[in-house]
Symmetry: C2
Amino acid sequence: MSEYDPLTASKRLNILLKHLNNEENTNNNSKEWRTLSSSQCLTVCTNRDRKWNGYGYKDTFFKFDERGTAFSTGNRYPNFSSKEFHELRPWLEQTLRINLKTICPAQPNIIELASPNVNHEFYDAIKPQGIMISFAEQDRLSHGHGISTAEIYRLRHGNFARIPDAVIWPESHEQVVTIVKAALKFNVGCIPYGSGSNDVDALECPKENVKRMIVSLDMRQMNRILSLSKENMYVIVEAGTIAQNLEKELRKRGFTLGWDAEMLEFCTVGGIVSLRSNDIKRNMIGDLEHSVINFKMVTPTGTININKSQISSGPNFQLLFGTEGTLGVITELTLKIHFFASQRHYVSIYFPSFHNGLLFLREIAQKKIIRFSGARLVDEPGLQLVNAFNTTTPTVSSIFYEVIKKYYLKKIKKLEVGKMCLAAILIDGDDIIKLKAYEKKIGEIGKQYGGVIAGNDLGERVFFVSKRLPYLRDFLLDHYAISDRLDATASWTNVEMLVENVKEKITNTCKVQNIRPRPYIGVRIDHIYDTGASITFTYGFNCRNLGDPLGILRLIEQVALDEILQSNGSVSHNTSGIGKRKKESFRESLDEPVVNVLKNIKKTLDPTNIFCNQNLI
Amino acid sequence: MSEYDPLTASKRLNILLKHLNNEENTNNNSKEWRTLSSSQCLTVCTNRDRKWNGYGYKDTFFKFDERGTAFSTGNRYPNFSSKEFHELRPWLEQTLRINLKTICPAQPNIIELASPNVNHEFYDAIKPQGIMISFAEQDRLSHGHGISTAEIYRLRHGNFARIPDAVIWPESHEQVVTIVKAALKFNVGCIPYGSGSNDVDALECPKENVKRMIVSLDMRQMNRILSLSKENMYVIVEAGTIAQNLEKELRKRGFTLGWDAEMLEFCTVGGIVSLRSNDIKRNMIGDLEHSVINFKMVTPTGTININKSQISSGPNFQLLFGTEGTLGVITELTLKIHFFASQRHYVSIYFPSFHNGLLFLREIAQKKIIRFSGARLVDEPGLQLVNAFNTTTPTVSSIFYEVIKKYYLKKIKKLEVGKMCLAAILIDGDDIIKLKAYEKKIGEIGKQYGGVIAGNDLGERVFFVSKRLPYLRDFLLDHYAISDRLDATASWTNVEMLVENVKEKITNTCKVQNIRPRPYIGVRIDHIYDTGASITFTYGFNCRNLGDPLGILRLIEQVALDEILQSNGSVSHNTSGIGKRKKESFRESLDEPVVNVLKNIKKTLDPTNIFCNQNLI
């Protein structure tokens, strides 16, 4: 019989955590970052500066002021925090019939949770190693979900069937090995945790086997840069390193990961590789797989070192990327680095139709006349959303937008309503003259398709807005509007068809469900390749009078995912992954032998299902 | 009881084959190529225009003429066929002490072979489908080996323990499915065959289970271009299409695979993907995997369609690339295409040391100031080999080489003997002005490391020579010299160390084996990346007085492979793959869980070992 009492331990650890974290009084997240020189773990990196029932930092959210103008709080983000958005309220009122005075209140206090299952033998096996563990409710809850709309909605209005029984913060590869060995010996489930920023319900706990203890492995204490080789252009890091923090350190030294690091504010490098996230500048640096030189993964049957410098023939073991924590925990990564370009220019161009915008992007992607590191295209509803993020008044770009609209109407006569779009191209480099030449070339190519150059600011905002959308999503929830996003990939010849089909399916489903007014659907092209493009659908609707908004959201999602597959698209592209949200659709796109291969790899590496998150298949 | 008589069938099929192929009287291999318009299979593509006991075409080989000058026969290759090589004999006499009058004769007639095992039920299952099959000795033998030195040596002086019992030429995906189903039902082994151009003994038949019929699946009748999409920049081809032929057709239309297609004279696209060949212009287009959009593979448990446009998250199924025909047959590939550049320039630069040449290449690879599509570096022995391929007289580049050598000796004084090297860079594009600017820039970077610009012809020859080396290898065998090659990859900081270590190990092993004179070892850098480079070692020695040249060759190879791993290199990089030759070293570089994963994938997809070639693990 063990002398251990979980509640006492929980309390003790809570005190320790509070002591170690002073995060209640600080907005500074730099403590999540250990430098090269400090090899000692000094801070416990928790989620306590983040909202318990919403996206992002506690201090950052949208509000209406007393005059009814939308503004954002906090001071974390330049061009966003503590700014007024004059066009946001009118746009919301018009598209979603949001009433600023009608608030949909979230449940005020943290959800009542069942007490944790504690496997005492497991606890006793890891305790002597000095491994940090917490049984605190707020830690358990924050590690039991990601940031999907469904999850946030349930935090605001419902509960979770199951959350992890404890959170563990390993500090080294060896500690991970100890934990996984103990989990195997004493039959404890493990769910690797990066930053909880997925939106595919990847962190949901399994429903069955309710008496088995489940621990969340929060990897963020493993955030050391182990070495940086300028000669071989790589950096070796622990897998819990936050991508954005790593990027900052690299830039200080003149390097970059080449990833779109601003998109990866919370994400750990291990999480990105686990999800095989494609939200990187693939046009510049190739697939994510191309970025990863070596990696180390702890599985229940042993540690796997994939050392690409020793394996360059035979099967491609990058299969293990994108397995979403179902086979093991990545503890270490060797990542390729690139020279950081000092200059970045954003070019934006209006087009009279989405079709023309696509032809323009296709030429940019295929002809390779200019070297670009990012490309976007927003349709007219998408553009209105971008304009709603204007922080200037009077809003120059809105006026310009109206002028352009009139120009098109006059010039090409048959401009269809709602068909205008805006492309934005990001070019970077060290040579300003070259960038200027590229900018000119982009304008010339655009002109062939009826393009009219717009401002650089507007181009930048197109890239910027998508990063802050989750804050807006939560703001909508405050006012009885629910929204979500889905991404897809399609061949160039399929993009338009897929977009039209998916929009039609969403619209029809909303109609059948008596949703009024008709839903907002914005379309954005996020990445472009020789062969095709990735598409993000952002959609939302007023849910004031709906009995089961979440049920309807799920229904729309399923209809849209089915249509994406039907239209020969992929059901995921960007940061999202498969998780449990897209599991059915993912499986549908696989042949039976491949499903069997995946199942047998799982059986081989993790025969007793230690890694129990049930993602993927 | 079947009425079928294998010998009669064999004879009948031989007659049919002879009728269909008039290859005894023609040097034209264009019949191996079916155009877009002809959907009917018109020719049987065999190996009958290739040597039965040597590399390449029957009409192409080296010889000494009556004056003792080396020359090459045939008319297939520009700058090579029917040319005199004035420096070849002196160089061979000096480095390998070859005597042009001492001939090492190969056995004159085709090896005596055991009669084939015929599984009558299998034959009866595929016969009604009109599937072409041959039991002819020359077909069976030619499909039972690749082009490794060991295999060619055994063809010249020995025999094979086992060869396929029959050769089948499927003409469609459906026929492959029929064959694999019949093989599964009646327990017949299948070995997929592309073109037999591997040098890793990948086609060797298994020793055990001697009564089981083994059929070779020659895929080259499946060589249709199924579709070409200019909008989406891809081509869909049957997997048996010869890469070089596909490239020719693409170029006619303004496109290219972006692969180094001249290196792939005999290779099928399916074979290249099966071996995960990296002998492509990765600097330009990324990994081979990046080139393959979709593929179709027939396995004993069903057909796998990997449609990347439908799968962009989750695990990376490119694991199935590089499985070397151990799991199934690839029948169809969707390959990315690129715009073909009309201009190509070769730049070559001498450096006073291999070290400096490496620093130069590293800068070219990492700084990305110029866009290049190929890079080579040959050390001094490698350069002598290049010069031995001179077809001009007096040989200008040899004279220049001596001049440069003197210049270095005078200028930097301490030029070490045998340390000079030559780099060659291939740049291509449509804009001559840009290429000229790149050429200038390359010269400037080279100058920083003591580089002196040499001729464009010399640069071109550096690329060219490696393509014709197998013909030279056979010429050496005619004169009691045996040679081989090995490739490796290493990080930039490891390249020099690895090169020195491997050279030392080969030299020492030869010394212990009493080999006189000391062996020739030439080192070539073939591909350069941000993180490192690939290295090819070409080595050879006089074997006139050795009892077991093949045994010594194997010994040297094992010592070299061990040293490559020891020096943190990979044991393979280019076209070669793993096969059976590098199996042990490959396995050594894998962790146990990964070996288990591979074994279980094999069990899942091919539980009864239909694909019995035993490559990889």
